[in-house]
């Protein structure tokens, strides 16, 4: 693959696509084309998966900026490792596995660096991840929109506080709607283990969101 040489090349071809992209529609074909230096093919791959990967990482981390950063890192790794990519399994499995590993690594790194903050008691609830110590406010609110927003935020926080090994399969199954087989491929686990972890994750969530059920 050719290296980028100027800032002018940073703008993706929005309309005009190469003939290769027009002909090849599968992910494998696009990656093959990208491997031979077709920038438009790689751009098409990015367009296909940018929102999925960003959403997935966001549900894993509950941090949008971090999610965008990790999604970009995911595509960079795909680009750099395109020569070593093997078509033994679906490209979506491949890219989700990279994103999962990046997200879990970042979460573990953050967990190691987490310190007790003296100002944590005064922070906004949106900035805090202490869902267990933050019971839901069940008083009726006037604005339905506010209620639903608060409920969604509580669900997102509850998911973000799940242990890593339960969070990833739950997000892949209930949010990304991936099949058990594909989840097993992404997480490199057996299907039985995946089902068991998803069931356990839902039980955790039920306990955390008892007031909303």
């Amino acid at each position: 693959m050719s290296a980028l040489s100027s800032i002018d090349e940073l703008l993706l071809p929005a309309v005009a696509q190469s003939p290769v992209v027009a002909e090849v529609s599968s992910d494998h074909g696009l990656l093959e084309a990208a491997r031979t230096g077709d920038e438009a093919a790689f751009a098409e791959l990015v367009r296909r998966y940018r929102n999925q990967i960003t959403n997935y990482v966001y549900r894993m981390t509950n941090d949008y900026d971090l999610a965008v950063d990790l999604a970009q890192e995911t595509f960079m790794r795909v680009y750099r490792a395109a020569d070593r990519y093997q078509t033994g399994y679906a490209f979506s499995t491949y890219i989700y596995r990279i994103a999962t590993n990046l997200a879990i690594s970042e979460l573990r790194r953050r967990k190691r660096r987490r310190l007790v903050s003296l100002t944590g008691f005064f922070q906004d609830r949106e900035e805090s991840d202490a869902t267990e110590l933050d019971p839901a406010d069940i008083r009726p609110l006037q604005d339905v929109t506010l209620v639903s927003e608060e409920r969604r935020a509580a669900v997102a926080r509850a998911i973000a506080t799940l242990p890593d090994k339960y969070r990833a399969p739950l997000v892949l199954r209930d949010i990304e709607e991936r099949s058990y087989e594909e989840i097993a491929g992404i997480l490199e686990l057996s299907e039985g283990t995946v089902k068991s972890r998803i069931s356990r994750a839902r039980s955790f969530l039920r306990d955390k969101l008892q007031s909303y059920l």
């Binding site: 980028l4 970009q72 969604r152 209930d174 039920r206």
Partner: protein
Amino acid sequence: MLTCQQCRTEIDGAVRAETLAAQAREHLDVCAACRQFQVERRRLRTLIGELEPVAAPPDFEFRLRARMAAHERAPAARFVWPAFAPRALGLAFAACLILAVAATLRLHTQPPLPTGDPGAAQSVVGPQSAQVKIEQHNSEATSTASIEPNNIPIITPTVKIPTSGQRRVLSIEQVGSLHSTPRGVLGVNERAESESLGVGSAPLVTRTVADNLPASLSTIPLPVPNSSAPLKVTLKDMQGAARIVSVDPVSFGARDLLGGRARVVPASATDSQGVW
């Protein structure tokens, strides 16, 4: 009929209630707990389904390209400092603290140096100067060599030197290595072996005494590289007659060795066996 556990596994695996197996539905008809479980799972799925999907920002591709371009330009020039976990830093700090406390305790528990013998304290210091006093008695043709490193008590072994020679050479030798260039070295005459210790000999430091040695006391400063190591002093005249003075090292607890127990060994042709 399925058990409750099997039924709940079916409920978790089914995408919708309609896709449940017939056996699971039969179980649900008779099991209120599993029906409650199914309701909770359905509500939970509804809650999760309310989460709105998040999209990538509009400049996602632009930023990605910029990032890739930056990476292509400088692929190997990055150095990332290792991220030490706070726990590892804490352990390192604790280890340093323990070492510091242990060193402090060791310093405080060592026996104090004798105040009346500053030479013992100096024995651990590096190169020092010493003085060799030669007393020549014309009548008995006797010379006395003394080693006096700064404040170390004088050791006065007696060496008989033939008076025929007008020119004398004093050599001082230490077993071990020299850490600095001794002062006043005029030449290296010979090397003696200290085979009994199994240690190679150190360079021989030589000083030539004035031709006309006065009959009275003469003081000749000589460098002593390390007073804590064994010491040999060789006195020669120009005719080849030689005497070797052996001085025990000065070290902790060695004050008694300085009390006149320095040995005097006459030099001979068989001195290669060593005198220590």
